[in-house]
């Protein structure tokens, strides 16, 4: 797990509830305040291009910042910018959750 520092590992470990560190899930399941690394994107070509435009590809670090008042869309911190994505689209992004306490 080259992504996570030992410090954040412990941090996450202590906070761990039912989900295990490094467990694979989709981006929409990421709780607000948590970070993850994109593992795989499975969506149509057009959408993939849009993601590539904003630098969202395999290996990119994503942090979930906040949701809109109707819980959808959600704003993510991606490569220095804040980007809103709909749940429907975020579902197609598979991630490995990690916790960087320095992010939020």
């Amino acid at each position: 797990m080259g992504y996570f520092t030992s410090h954040s590992f412990f941090y996450t470990y202590n906070k761990l509830d039912k989900m295990k560190l490094g467990e694979s899930m989709t981006l929409d399941e990421l709780s607000v305040g948590e970070s993850a690394i994109v593992k795989k994107i499975e969506t149509d070509d057009n959408m993939t291009r849009r993601f590539i435009d904003i630098g969202l590809v395999e290996g990119t670090k994503v942090t979930s910042l906040y949701r809109s008042y109707l819980k959808d869309p959600t704003a993510y911190f991606i490569r220095g910018a804040v980007i809103a994505l709909r749940k429907k689209d975020a579902k197609k992004i598979y991630i490995i959750r990690g916790n960087h306490e320095d992010v939020l």
Partner: protein, 702 residues
């Protein structure tokens, strides 16, 4: 600070050079453009403010620079209309240099575009803008190192404070003098590089000299139809005309396939390589990249909560309307008084020279009264509303509204960015319609175009304000009255938004069937607006706009309408005959013949609807002078207006067919007469139905 360049076209200069301003959306391209040229391109703190190419001039030493402000784009592979403009310029046009403007806050993503553009041309100056904001967040960027990495000149700027622009201008001049170095190129996987070189070798002999062979060789292998079609349009270069080349391309694709690279996926593959290249460069260049967003989020937290977010936005809306109505009241009255005072003198003057009465009629009752009405009623509210609105826009509220409302739009299978185009509609529906270019999906874009009219524009908004002032609360000053006025107006705007959602939903389920497409919206940081500058600039702009409309539209319309009301057949004016004819129908929807007639004749511009009504009503009475709104109310009431009439007139105004300019824009943007006619038909039937229902409901209770 002394600026060394001169804004605008310099007559004495002998040479001309062409410069393009490219970059991601919302990085300050238009701001730089304005500073250089002295023009007033609109800027705003959200992505997609500029959707059309604009150009201007600045002079430096003995050269004029023609500079193009391009719409923002994330990459050269385009998705939406406005990005196409930018791409076409970068890939196909002749220019002496391209300035790629970057956002210092997210340099990494911006470098993507830089690296892509470097594939197309070496004549690039990279301009890292927003350095002030980066500094505030502790981000440090080593510009020299960046220049070494990219092998192109890099200039740091803070466009809003005019810092760095001298250096930028100097650098561009420099480029024309020294031979241009070869810039860095992103290296792809070996097999891909091999393929590119092979195709390039065959391409070079007959390919247009000014275009990049490497870039197009790659596009040919990728089979990027979009860009190849464009290539054919611009240069007549057709792949089919070169069988030898085609077979080499196919051969290379086959080769790639053997090493596991399918050409379908090549595009994404190369794009990712570029992203990683940008990442590597950034690691060397950016120190303390921003990883902590905590500080900047207090406002977002307030906005996102269901208990505070929506009420706050509504409160904002209400507050703006309240300030507008209260603030506009007094200047409006003053203008009325002034114009009516002037009118007396004009009449006196006309009598003095004993002009025939028809000249006095055309000039004063027709032209003068229409123009002064438009100015007194339209100018004050607009001159207050717009600066306020622009402040919020500059602050960065608009994308947040789109973010919060997106779910609602998604439910209607539409796009949240529609909210942005609706905001533009407040200024002018035609601008709103053009603004829909930021919506990727053609289906969702059409929905946004068709429904844009449900936001009252510059011409209708003040009309509603004046009717509300006249009929609902009266003229008595006082906090309570002004608050209820503003509440009613807010209600009407919300009704317009509701109708937008209902109609969008209806369209999505009938003739524009489809699922909502994807949605990627960038939320820029909140920026402290330059209050003084924004206020003065947009006040000035709006005043000019309203005055311009008053002269170009209201004046001729006033003359025509006066003629129509005064040319008579058997003692009845032509317009009255028409009004009488449609009167029974109009009464069914809570209006009367004159009102409906005014809306029809107001097709060229919504501003003149009320003046037309007044003129027709007035032609029946002896009174000619309206010095204030309460007198006007008297005239309307004398002609049978009730509160129901007022409500129905407002609703009809909100929902009815778009004005002629908007219609033409719809035709242009959709490329079809059919959609224009459909929009007219749809909006008008909705207006008629709504008024019919509301007037009958009201009649039950009143």
């Amino acid at each position: 600070m002394k600026m060394y360049y001169k804004q605008g076209y310099q007559k004495k200069n002998t040479q001309e050079k062409i410069i393009g301003l490219a970059g991601n959306p919302n990085v300050g391209k238009s701001t730089i453009f304005n500073e250089l040229t002295g023009l007033k391109q609109h800027t705003g703190n959200w992505t997609g403010k500029t959707v059309e190419n604009a150009y201007g001039y600045y002079g430096y030493h003995d050269t004029n620079y023609k500079i193009y402000d391009l719409p923002g784009t994330y990459s050269l592979i385009t998705h939406s209309k406005e990005e196409e403009h930018a791409r076409d310029f970068i890939c196909f046009d002749h220019y002496d240099a391209i300035i790629v403007v970057c956002d210092a806050l997210c340099l990494e993503r911006n470098l993507n575009l830089v690296l892509q553009i470097l594939e197309v041309t070496d004549q690039v100056v990279v301009c890292v803008n927003l350095l002030d904001e980066a500094k505030k967040r502790g981000i440090e960027i080593d510009l020299e190192q960046l220049s070494t990495e990219l092998q192109v000149p890099v200039i740091g700027t803070c466009a809003r404070d005019k810092i760095g622009l001298n250096e930028l201008v100097k650098q561009i001049e420099e480029m024309g003098k020294t031979p241009i170095k070869e810039s860095i190129q992103t290296k792809y996987k070996e097999q891909i590089e091999d393929a590119i070189v092979k195709v390039e070798n065959h391409l070079t002999p007959f390919f247009p000299k000014n275009l990049s062979t490497r870039f197009f060789a790659l596009k040919m292998i990728e089979n990027d139809q979009d860009i190849l079609n464009r290539l054919e349009e611009v240069t007549n270069f057709r792949l089919e005309a070169h069988p030898a080349l085609s077979s080499i391309i196919i051969e290379q694709r086959e080769q790639l396939k053997q090493s596991g690279i399918l050409y379908h996926f090549l595009k994404n593959d190369t794009a990712k390589t570029i992203i990683h290249h940008a990442e590597t460069i950034c690691q060397k260049v950016v120190h303390n990249p921003q990883s902590n967003m905590k500080k900047h989020q207090t406002l977002e937290k307030i906005l996102k909560s269901p208990w505070t977010g929506i009420p706050i936005m509504l409160a904002f809306l209400f507050l703006i309307f309240w300030i507008t109505m209260v603030g506009a009241n007094y200047p409006s009255q003053l203008l009325f008084q002034f114009f009516s005072w002037l009118e007396q003198w004009l009449r006196y003057g006309f009598e003095l020279f004993s002009f025939p009465s028809w000249i006095t009629g055309i000039m004063i009752d027709g032209a003068y009264q229409t123009v002064t009405w438009v100015i007194s009623v339209m100018l004050p509210p607009m001159a207050i509303f717009f600066p306020l609105f622009t402040l919020l826009e500059d602050f960065g509220l608009l994308p947040r509204i789109a973010f919060q409302l997106d779910k609602q739009f998604a439910k209607c299978k539409a796009c949240g960015k529609q909210a942005l185009t609706m905001c533009m509609g407040f200024g002018c529906n035609a601008v709103g319609v053009t603004g829909t270019r930021i919506i990727d999906s053609p289906r969702e874009r059409l929905i946004a175009i068709i429904t844009n009219n449900f936001v009252p524009c510059n011409g209708r908004f003040p009309t509603m304000v004046s009717i509300i002032t006249m009929f609902f609360v009266g003229f008595r000053p006082g906090l309570q009255n002004s608050i209820s006025n503003a509440l009613i107006l807010t209600g009407i705007i919300l009704f317009g938004i509701l109708m937008t959602l209902i109609v969008s939903n209806g369209l999505s389920n009938t003739i524009l069937k489809g699922m909502p497409s994807s949605f990627v919206l960038e939320l820029p940081p909140f920026r402290k607006p330059q209050i003084g500058k924004v206020l003065i600039h947009s006040l000035f702009n709006r005043t000019l706009f309203v005055l311009g409309r008053a002269i170009t539209v209201a004046l001729p319309a006033g003359i025509v309408i006066w003629l129509l009301t005064n040319l008579t057949i058997d003692g009845v004016s032509i317009i009255q005959i028409c009004a009488d004819f449609i009167d029974p129908f109009a009464r069914m929807i809570g209006l009367d013949g004159v009102i409906l007639m005014a809306f029809i004749l107001g097709f060229p511009a919504n501003e003149i609807v009320v003046p037309i009504m007044i003129m027709i009503y007035l032609s029946k009475t002896s009174m000619t002078d309206i010095s204030n709104l309460s007198l006007l109310k008297q005239i309307l009431v004398d002609n049978g207006w009730t509160i129901t009439t007022a409500i129905c007139t407002i609703l009809f105004s909100l929902l009815h067919f778009p004005c002629s300019t908007t219609c033409l824009t719809i035709k242009k943007e959709t490329g079809s007469l059919k959609w224009m006619l459909f929009t007219i038909l749809l909006t008008t039937s909705i207006a008629i139905m709504t008024c019919f229902i509301i007037s009958h409901l009201l009649n039950l209770f009143i």
